[in-house]
Amino acid sequence: MDFMNSVELVQLADASNNFIYATMVILFIATISFSVSFAAGRRRVRRVEVSPRRVLVESSGSEVRESEGSLAELDPGRRAANIGMSLTWLAGAMLLVGVILRGIWAGRVPWGNMYEFSISSALGILLVFLVWSTQRDLRWLGLFVTIPTLLTLGLAVTVLYTESAQLVPALKSYWLVIHVFAAIVGGGAFTVGAATAGLSLISGKGWFTQLPSREKLEGLTHKVIAFSFPIWTFAVVAGAIWAENAWGRYWGWDPKETWAFITWVIFAAYLHARSTAGWKHQKASVIAIVGWLAFLINYFGVNIFINSLHSYAGV
C-alpha cells in the first residue's frame, strides 16, 4: 500500500468515527424528542379522560376497525414524536454511512470484531424499526428503540473500540458475511421485540396510559419474533456449516454455540407459549424478554467473560 493510499484510508477511518459520533448525537436528540412526546401524551390522556381510548368506527362497508388516530390531533406531543421519527431516519442514514465507511476502510464486511459487530447491530436495530415503521404507526415505540441503540453505540465507542485491522485467518470466509449478517438482523429484531414485549407488560399502568393496548403490543411482539426466529435459526445453521468447515465439527458446544442454542430454545418456547392456554399474554412477553437477555449474554457475555472459540480480536 503506497503512502497516499494509506493517508486516504486514515481519513476514511476518521470519517467513519465521525459519522458514528454524529449518529449518537442525533439519536440522543431523537430520544429527548420521544421522551417529550411520551410525557406530553401522558398529560394529554389524563386531561381528556372522557374520550374513550378505543373508538370503533364504521369504515367502508360494514367492517369494524380500531382507530388509533382519534387522539392524533397535532398537539405538542405528536409534533415531538414526529421530530423524533425524522431524527431517527437521519440517524439511521448517518449510521449506515458510518458502517459502510468502516467496511471500505477495512476492505471487508464491517463486522470483523466486537466494535464493528456492535455498530452493525445498532444499525440492524434501527433498520428493523424504520422499515417496520413504514408499515404502521410506530412513533410510540421510538423511545424504546433509540435508547437500546444509543446504549449499544455507547458501549461500542467506549469499551469495545478497536482500530480496524485485517481478519484473523479463522474469519476469512464468506460465511462471515452470511452468518454474522443473519445474527445482526435477527438480534436487531429480537431487541425490537423485547421492547414491545416490555411495553405490553406496563401498558395502561401508571405512566404508560397512552401506549397501544396490551393485546396489540402482544400481537406486535409475536409478529417481530415470528420474523426473527427463522432468521436466527438460519444464523445458527449457517454458523454450524462454517464451523464444520473451519474447525472440523458442525457443533461442539462452544459457549457461543451453547448460548445461541439457549436463545433459540427460549424463543421456541415463546412461540409455543403463544399457542398455549394461560401462557399467551404476560408470561409469553416475559419469555420474549428472557430470550433477548440470553441473546445479550451470547453477544457480550461470552466474548468478555467466557473463554470461547468466538473470542476474537481484542475482545
Binding site: 362497508g61 360494514s62 367492517e63 369494524v64 376497525r65 478497536t162 482500530e163 480496524s164 485491522a165 485485517q166 484473523v168 485467518p169 479463522a170 476469512k172 470466509s173 460465511w175 400481537g219 409475536h222 409478529k223 415470528a226 420474523f227 426466529f229 427463522p230 435459526t233 438460519f234 445453521v237 454450524a240 456449516i241 462454517w242 464444520e244 468447515n245 473451519a246 474447525w247 472440523g248 465439527r249 458442525y250 457443533w251 461442539g252 458446544w253 462452544d254 459457549p255 451453547t258 448460548w259 442454542f261 439457549i262 430454545v265 427460549i266 421456541a268 418456547a269 412461540l271 409455543h272 407459549a273 399457542s275 398455549t276 401462557w279 440470553a294 467466557i306 473463554n307 480480536a313 481484542g314
Partner: protein
C-alpha cells in the same frame, strides 16, 4: 391379568401420563428445562472441548471439583440428566406431532366447511351487482380458484347460495415438516456420534503422516466406528507459512496460516499438492483434514559424557500463549546417566521481573530457548506410560539452567554432556475427522428452516361469498325444462376470517369484493 391393578385403570393411567407428556404445557416446561440445563455447559470447561482446563479446574477446587465431576458438570451434554431432558422433549414432540399428521392429512383432503348462516356477523362487506345468481357464484369460485383457494359451492335451506374457500394449508404442513426435521437432525447427530471418528496429529515440516491409528496423537471414534476402516491416504507437510500482524492494531494477531501438503492416496497416480488453510480443509474420501494449530520445534543435538550424539532431532514444543511462549521436554534415555530437559522456547525473547522469560511476538524474530537440565533416571521403565510433554524428575537431580540462542551449545556441569540449539522448525497440527451424519443433519436443518418459515409466514384463512336473494328482476328467460333464469341485481355478501389471532382476512375480502364489482362494471 394377575396384576393388582385392574387393567383398565392401568391403561387409563398410562393414557393420562401420555396425555400429560404430550401436552403443550409439558413441551413448554421441557423447553425451559433444556435452556436451563445447557447453561452449566457454557460456564464450566467441558471434557469434550477442553480436557486440560477441566483437570485444572478440578485441581484448583479440590473439594468441589470431584463432586462437580461426578454429577457431570464437566460433561454436561453427555450427562444422563441432560439426555433425560432432550429425550423427554423429543418423546413429547413425537407424541404431539404424529396425531396431527393424520388430522392434517384428513383436513387436506376434505372440503372447506359450509358458510356460516349469518355472514354479516363476521364483518365483511355487502353490495349489489348486476348478474345472475349461478353465474356470480361460478365467477366467484373461478376467481378464488385462480388465487389458489380451495373452494366448495353449496346452498342453504333458505335458498341462498355460497362459495366457501380456504387457503393456507401449507402453514400446518410447514409446522409438521419443521418438527419432523428436528427429529431428523437428532438422527443425523446420532449417526455422526456412532459412526464418526476424529483424530489429532502434530506434523513437523518435512515430516509425513499416514492415516493409521498408530500415527495419531489422539483418536476417538463412535461406538460403531471402526479404526480398521480408516480411509487410506498419506501426506507430507512440505512447508508451513504463517504471518502475523505487525501494525499497531491487533499486533501479533495471526494473518495467514497455510500448510502446503503433498498427498498420496490409492487409486490416484502420483502425488498431488494441496494448500490447506483454516477455512479450507482437505477432503479425502469420507475424511476431512483440518488445519487447527501450529507451533515451533527447536532442533537440538544432545551429546553424552563421551561426546557421542544421543539425540539429533527437532522436538515439538507446545505454545502456551498468543505470543507462542512454548514449553517442551527432551528425554534422552540412551545416555548414562539418563538426561532430561525442560525447555521454554521464545520466538521473540524478553525477560521481565514480573513474567520472567516470555515471548513478546509470535514470529521468530529473536529466538532463544531456556533449558533446565536433569540427570538420573527418567523412570521410563516403570511400565507407566508417560506423556512426551512432561518430565518426571523424582529420580533425577537438577544440573542447572541455561539459555541458548541458535548455534549455541551448553556444556552441562559435571561433564554430563552437552546440548546444542542448531535451529528450529515449524509444526502444524491437524484434525482429521469423519462424520457420516453431517449431510443428513444439514438437509434436515434446511428442511427445518423452510418448514419453520412456512408455518410462521403463511396464514390459514377462510372466506365466503354468499348470494342471498335477487334484489330486482329485469327479465326472466326460459331455459328449456330446467326452469327459468333470473337476471337482475343480486345482493352479495363477502366475509372472511384468519385462524391465527392477531390476523384477519380484510385484505382478501377487499380484493374479492373489488374484483367481483369490477367484473360486472
Amino acid at each position: 391379568m394377575s396384576t393388582t391393578l385392574p387393567p383398565m385403570s392401568q391403561r387409563g393411567f398410562l393414557r393420562w401420563l401420555w396425555r400429560q407428556l404430550t401436552s403443550m404445557k409439558t413441551a413448554l416446561i421441557l423447553l425451559f428445562l433444556l435452556a436451563i440445563v445447557s447453561i452449566p455447559g457454557s460456564y464450566f470447561p467441558q471434557r469434550g472441548t477442553n480436557p486440560i482446563l477441566v483437570d485444572q479446574w478440578i485441581a484448583d477446587y479440590p473439594r468441589l471439583g470431584p463432586i462437580f465431576d461426578s454429577i457431570g458438570l464437566f460433561d454436561v451434554f453427555g450427562s444422563p440428566w441432560y439426555s433425560a431432558v432432550y429425550i423427554l422433549l423429543f418423546i413429547s414432540l413425537i407424541g404431539c406431532v404424529v396425531p396431527r399428521l393424520g388430522v392434517h392429512w384428513r383436513a387436506m383432503r376434505s372440503q372447506p366447511p359450509p358458510a356460516p348462516k349469518n355472514l354479516s356477523r363476521l364483518g365483511g362487506s355487502t353490495f349489489e351487482i348486476e348478474g345472475e345468481v349461478a353465474t356470480v357464484i361460478e365467477n366467484a369460485r373461478e376467481l378464488l380458484k385462480k388465487d389458489h383457494w380451495r373452494t366448495v359451492i353449496g346452498q342453504d335451506a333458505d335458498g341462498s347460495r355460497w362459495v366457501s374457500a380456504e387457503k393456507g394449508y401449507l402453514r400446518e404442513t410447514g409446522n409438521l415438516v419443521f418438527h419432523f426435521s428436528l427429529i431428523l437432525i437428532l438422527v443425523g447427530v446420532a449417526v455422526g456420534g456412532l459412526f464418526g471418528w476424529r483424530g489429532n496429529v502434530i506434523v513437523r515440516e518435512g515430516e509425513g503422516f499416514s492415516n493409521t491409528l498408530t500415527q495419531y496423537d489422539a483418536w476417538g471414534g463412535g461406538r460403531l466406528s471402526s479404526a480398521e476402516s480408516l480411509p487410506e491416504f498419506s501426506f507430507t507437510l512440505e512447508s508451513f507459512n504463517v504471518e502475523f500482524e505487525r501494525g499497531n492494531a491487533q499486533e501479533g494477531a495471526p494473518r495467514l496460516f497455510e500448510a502446503k501438503m503433498i498427498v498420496d492416496r490409492p487409486g490416484v497416480e502420483g502425488s498431488t499438492t494441496h494448500l490447506v488453510e483454516v477455512n479450507e480443509p482437505l477432503v479425502i474420501d469420507s475424511a476431512k483434514v483440518f488445519l487447527v494449530g501450529h507451533g515451533y520445534a527447536p532442533h537440538l543435538i544432545v551429546r553424552d559424557s563421551k561426546g557421542q550424539v544421543v539425540l539429533d532431532d527437532p522436538v515439538v514444543f507446545l505454545p502456551q500463549d498468543g505470543n507462542f511462549t512454548s514449553t517442551g521436554v527432551v528425554k534422552v534415555p540412551d545416555s548414562d546417566p539418563q538426561l532430561g530437559f525442560r525447555g521454554l522456547f521464545l520466538p521473540t525473547s524478553a525477560i521481565t521481573e514480573e513474567l520472567g522469560p516470555h515471548s513478546i511476538f509470535p514470529a521468530p524474530d529473536d529466538v532463544s530457548v531456556f533449558f533446565g537440565a536433569w540427570a538420573g533416571n527418567l523412570g521410563l521403565d516403570s511400565g507407566i506410560s508417560q506423556s512426551v510433554y512432561t518430565l518426571n524428575v523424582d529420580d533425577m537431580t537438577q544440573l542447572g539452567l541455561e539459555s541458548l540462542q541458535v548455534g549455541q551449545t551448553w556444556r552441562l556441569p559435571e561433564g554430563a554432556g552437552s546440548i546444542e540449539l542448531t535451529g528450529y522448525e515449524r509444526w502444524a497440527s491437524f484434525q482429521i475427522a469423519s462424520d457420516p451424519g453431517k449431510e443428513l443433519a444439514l438437509i434436515a436443518s434446511i428442511l427445518a428452516i423452510v418448514g419453520l418459515s412456512l408455518s410462521l409466514f403463511i396464514q390459514r384463512r377462510r372466506v365466503w361469498v354468499k348470494i342471498g336473494q335477487v334484489v330486482e328482476v329485469d327479465q326472466v328467460t326460459e331455459q328449456g325444462s330446467s326452469g327459468t333464469v333470473k337476471v337482475g341485481r343480486v345482493k352479495v355478501e363477502v366475509a372472511g376470517i384468519a385462524k391465527a389471532s392477531g390476523h384477519d382476512a380484510i385484505e382478501q375480502v377487499d380484493n374479492i369484493v373489488e374484483t367481483l364489482k369490477g367484473q360486472t362494471a
